[in-house]
Point group: C5
């Protein structure tokens, strides 16, 4: 699993029907990193550091069998020290 | 899921039979980025910013059980601010 | 799916039995790029630009249930303009 | 499989229910490398060099059918010479 | 599939029970490249150039249903010319 910081909620105009039941969040490995989109079954808020599961396990981790996710939040980290190589400008 | 910009429709001379029922689009993570090919079950047009699902979930997300996709568009983003590190020259 | 150029046929001395029934081609994302090996159920020739499917979908895309592939050619592209960032020296 | 060095135990405030039964460790490919999170069914301690399995195989490797992992420790390496390109400052 | 050179046998002190029945080899994409660990159901020796299958197909390719592998050797290449960009110093 990788560690991401929650950036914000993602608003999409038109999703496939299978995706309609879960919030999608924009997450980044570090501030300024490439944005990715994760399914959030945990209930996170911007600024949280979270553990995300990818690969085929991301599907069941949503709690909905067969949900089409390749990145799902599976936990919130209590205290996370940003690694030295990460950007800490925000 | 990752975020891509739709570039154009991809025309292929000869596809395997399993792939014949869905449009294929060329998508890029940013203008000038490496082109990838995504299955489009949503109905996108060039210039749209879209959410794409990879891994094994890309298959069912096409809406056709067992479709051989490793990248499928699952949503169109309403408004997307291009991240600062992306190329915006086009 | 990603786009590759077919380089040549790959000859292997000793394959696992499950792999014996399909041709393997060396493909590259661009001239001079890292060589990868794709299963070819379509019938390609060197110089063709092809669409390759990875992940778990690469298996069924071979046309043989349970074939052990992680990269399978699923279509030949009619006309492909090499992106500007690609090496065109060959 | 890739080779990682165990850094420390990861404490998360709120995990999905499916993840509650196994310890999670922070692992890195080399000292100072990007931290990743692996499920540990073997029983490792900080400083151990371990083999981690990703992809869909990471799930069953936890020993719990359907566990939502994309990175699971599957073995401890007896003696591992750090490759020359790795950082050895710690 | 990717192409690797076999480096050496990997000795691990403690493996999960599911992994005990197959040899593990350290492989590299080129001399000096990052070491990875592949399951070897073919019978390779150090110096061999091999084809490795990843993703979910790596599991069945071991010949043991449900084996927890994400990288499995599926063939030995007869003659492999090292690409120009590879390090040939060893």
């Amino acid at each position: 699993m990788k560690i991401y910081k929650v950036d914000k909620t993602l608003v999409s105009t038109n999703r496939i029907a299978m995706m309609e039941h879960k919030p999608l969040l924009v997450v980044r490995e570090k501030d300024g990193g490439t944005p990715q989109v994760a399914v959030d079954p945990v209930g996170c808020k911007p600024g949280d550091w979270v553990i995300c599961c990818g690969s085929s396990a991301a599907r069941d981790a949503t709690g909905v069998k067969g949900y089409p996710s390749d990145l799902t939040i599976v936990g919130i980290i209590d205290k996370w020290e940003v690694p030295q190589d990460a950007d800490t400008t925000s």
